[in-house]
């Protein structure tokens, strides 16, 4: 067997207790809760393709709709084709965000080491926890019950000693399941999993895996590290470790958001630079407020502009220093970018404007500013 010249040792740290919490059909379940009649109907949370000219994707489908083969990320038009009698419900993101925040408050009763992946998914490191519960299984059951009592929503949890296995485990028994994978069971558990379940093995990688005869975790386990690296690069290196139960990634509870922004859609469309500037000023104000409330500042400003004919332009500008969280500064740069990119499409109107700040860092410092214009602010 070919040996690679250098080999990084494989470390398996089985001392942690990590729970992956995955809300069951989150958006659809919230809609069912709000409107119980949906429970017996195939419900698809997406803009109705019949009213949008076929655009849009499925954000979530309830379990009834899933029986027709409808699943999330599928084009809404395809979902309609598979299930013509499905109910299409326009997503109500503010509501989902609110419920998500409510669930996070429950998480925080157990631990502050929470890594949110999406509104409906998070990792919790409960190795040590605020309730001093030694058994992670007991803790998971208690957490599920509390979420149910407070939100009337179910979730599935996966418990293990690393994030990779915990996530596979939460998917093992759904809905409302609790699955624990103990360190000694980790390898057999991973060997049984189909290769498609391994994170990073997506649409492009699956055929290549199958070509190499890798269909399960066991098949993957049989491969040499060198061969995996030769075929899959860095992913190969990672998979070689994952299938041996090694994943030292911490639960990144301090992980920062990558961007903060706001967009607005307009009906009727905006047709003049003056109107655009008025709205940019307003959006800049909201973004600055949001930046301040998140205690972040950023180095890159992105302007998003979508014309009536759906031609979309995003243009970014990066600065050497962090921009002050000042609506006027955001507005001026956004307006400058707009002037630089705006073209004949303006005749078809502007349907969407957005300002986003990226290159964020915690606002742990602030260079004080001379009061040059004392009458401002």
């Amino acid at each position: 067997m070919a040996q690679s010249i250098i080999e990084a040792p494989i470390k398996v740290d089985a001392s942690r207790k990590i729970i992956h919490v995955d809300m069951d059909a989150f958006y659809a379940s919230i809609e069912e809760r709000e409107q119980p009649a949906y429970k017996t109907q195939p419900l698809v949370v997406a803009h109705d393709p019949r009213t949008t000219g076929g655009r849009g994707v499925v954000t979530t489908a309830n379990y009834v709709a899933r029986q027709y083969g409808v699943h999330s990320a599928m084009p809404a038009a395809k979902a309609l084709e598979l299930c013509p009698k499905a109910v299409f419900k326009t997503p109500n993101f503010p509501l989902y965000r609110e419920v998500s925040a409510q669930i996070h408050r429950i998480f925080h009763e157990y631990t502050d080491k929470i890594e949110p992946i999406a509104f409906d998914e998070a990792y919790l490191d409960v190795t040590t926890n605020k309730k001093q519960i030694h058994s992670a299984v007991q803790l998971a059951h208690q957490l599920q019950r509390e979420i149910w009592e407070q939100t009337h929503l179910t979730c599935s949890t996966g418990i293990s000693y690393n994030k990779f296995i915990a996530k596979l485990a939460s998917d093992y028994r759904k809905p409302a399941g609790v699955t624990i994978v103990l360190p000694q069971d980790a390898e057999p558990f991973l060997w049984r999993e189909p290769i498609e379940k391994f994170r990073g093995v997506g649409k492009k990688t699956v055929p290549k895996m199958h070509e190499l005869g890798i269909k399960t975790g066991w098949d993957l386990y049989q491969q040499s590290e060198l061969k995996l690296i030769q075929n899959f690069g860095k992913l190969g290196y990672i998979l070689y470790r994952r299938v041996r139960g090694s994943d030292d990634r911490p639960v990144e509870y301090l992980r920062q958001r990558k961007s903060i922004g706001k967009e607005r859609t307009f009906g009727p469309f905006l047709t003049s630079t003056e109107e655009v500037n008025d709205h940019l000023r307003e959006i800049a104000r909201l973004v600055a407020a949001s930046m301040t409330s998140h205690q972040r500042h950023g180095k890159t400003l992105v302007l998003k502009l979508r014309y009536g004919d759906f031609v979309t332009i995003t243009k970014r500008r990066t600065f050497g220093e962090f921009l002050p969280n000042d609506a006027l500064v955001y507005y001026r740069y956004a307006s400058e970018i707009f002037d630089a990119v705006v073209d004949d499409h303006l005749d078809s109107g502007v349907r969407l404007l957005g300002i986003t700040l990226t290159g964020l860092a915690p606002l742990t410092f602030e260079n004080l500013t001379l009061p040059l214009y004392p009458n401002e602010n």
């Binding site: 050497g320 740069y333 410092f365 602030e366 260079n367 004080l368 040059l372 214009y373």
Partner: protein, 379 residues
């Protein structure tokens, strides 16, 4: 149009004019260099609409060995023309506009023919009358530019702050720049300019280019004003810049009058220490250096860190230290640039409070030159 000239004399002037020529301009003809040939001199002009530079090479100066055979004008593509001229083989060269705008450039056995443009299409430079003239010593003015232009804002969000504010009043010439985090102010006495009265904002970029042209050959710089342009005359060269429009903020009230802690130290020694501390602060997301003044043992401690790399401390013994204990944080890059503007001088740093701006002045002359830096608040 036809002339013969000493190539190195021509190149020297060509280099100056080229400072104003940009290949990225919205007005295509401005990528060209304009040549105007009169019986006794040739004039070179370049412009990027913000800055225009015009220089004259007279025939009377024998070093130029200028011989004009036919008067006329042409605009030549600046980049090609300059590269050609610099690579020609002999000491002299001849430029001859033939039919239309075709221009032949010859030197020894080499002969180029390039396509020129119609000089009638080249923008006219403004007429600026000479009544409002102020004469500045070239070396002092160059120093003044170097000292103030560092504080000019590079962000376009407040365009007015990208310039240096010049006020000439009662025989005193004052230059101020600020990007709102720091401020630099320099005064020069100009007793002979008693009658002139200016209040203008000149783009920092123009001043930087101008200062590069002030050398030993230009002991004096003449400054003239029109409504929206300023003209600097350096010998045979005229440097035009647009002015920034708007009201510059009143900066006089920003400079603290009192202090509670002062430190006197050699600028280069402090600069070197700040430089070392910033090695780590630059690696950190917050580029901040902490500066502690300890009156008890008359020392100053500089601290920099990067969570990923490590930390640095350095203790300095200033020449003088008076007042209260203080701990203040600031952007080391602002400090380095300010310190550099003092050269080898001994400086006095005056603090009031941890979250108030502090000032740096040369101990020799605290009246006429001041750098102000705002601190950083850390959370």
């Amino acid at each position: 149009m036809k002339f013969t000239i000493n190539r190195s004399a021509f190149i020297k002037e060509l280099n100056n004019v080229q400072r104003a020529i940009s290949s990225k301009t919205t007005i295509p003809i401005l990528t060209g260099l304009k040549l105007d040939v009169a019986s006794d001199a040739i004039t070179l002009t370049g412009s990027d609409a913000d800055i225009s530079i015009e220089t004259t090479i007279p025939a009377v100066d024998d070093n130029n060995t200028l011989v004009v055979e036919a008067e006329g004008s042409i605009v030549l593509p600046a980049r090609f023309f300059s590269e050609i001229v610099k690579k020609l083989p002999e000491d002299t060269m001849t430029v001859n506009v033939e039919d239309g705008f075709q221009t032949q450039i010859t030197s020894g056995a080499a002969s180029f023919t390039i396509n020129g443009l119609d000089p009638e299409n080249y923008p006219h430079l403004p007429e600026i009358d000479t009544t409002n003239t102020v004469t500045l010593a070239g070396d002092v003015f160059k120093e003044l530019i170097g000292q103030t232009v560092i504080a000019v804002s590079t962000q376009e969000s407040r365009p007015i702050l990208t310039g240096v504010h010049f006020i000439l009043k009662d025989g005193e010439f004052l230059a101020v720049a600020t990007d709102s985090h720091r401020l630099s102010q320099r005064k020069i006495k100009l007793p002979e300019a008693n009658n002139a009265d200016y209040d203008v904002i000149i783009p920092g970029k123009s001043l930087t280019e101008l200062s590069r042209m002030i050398g030993d050959n230009n002991p004096d710089v003449q400054m003239r004003l029109s409504e929206n342009q300023v003209l600097f005359v350096l010998g045979n060269t005229s440097f035009y810049s647009r002015l920034l429009e708007g009201n510059y903020p009143d900066t006089s009230r920003l400079i603290p009058k009192e202090s509670s802690t002062t430190v006197e130290i050699e600028a280069p020694a402090l600069s070197a220490a700040i430089e070392r501390a910033s090695l780590l602060s630059h690696e950190s997301r917050n580029n901040v250096v902490r500066f502690s003044v300890n009156p008890s043992d008359k020392t100053v401690t500089i601290f920099g860190n990067s969570p990923d790399v490590g930390e640095v401390t350095e203790q300095l013994q200033p020449a003088e230290l008076t007042g209260d204990e203080l701990e203040i944080s600031f952007n080391p890059d602002y400090m380095k640039e300010a310190l550099r503007s003092f050269g080898q001088a001994m400086i006095r740093i005056s603090f009031t409070m941890a979250l108030r701006p502090f000032t740096l002045v040369p101990t020799e002359d605290g009246e006429n030159f001041i750098q102000l830096i705002t601190p950083v608040r850390t959370f």
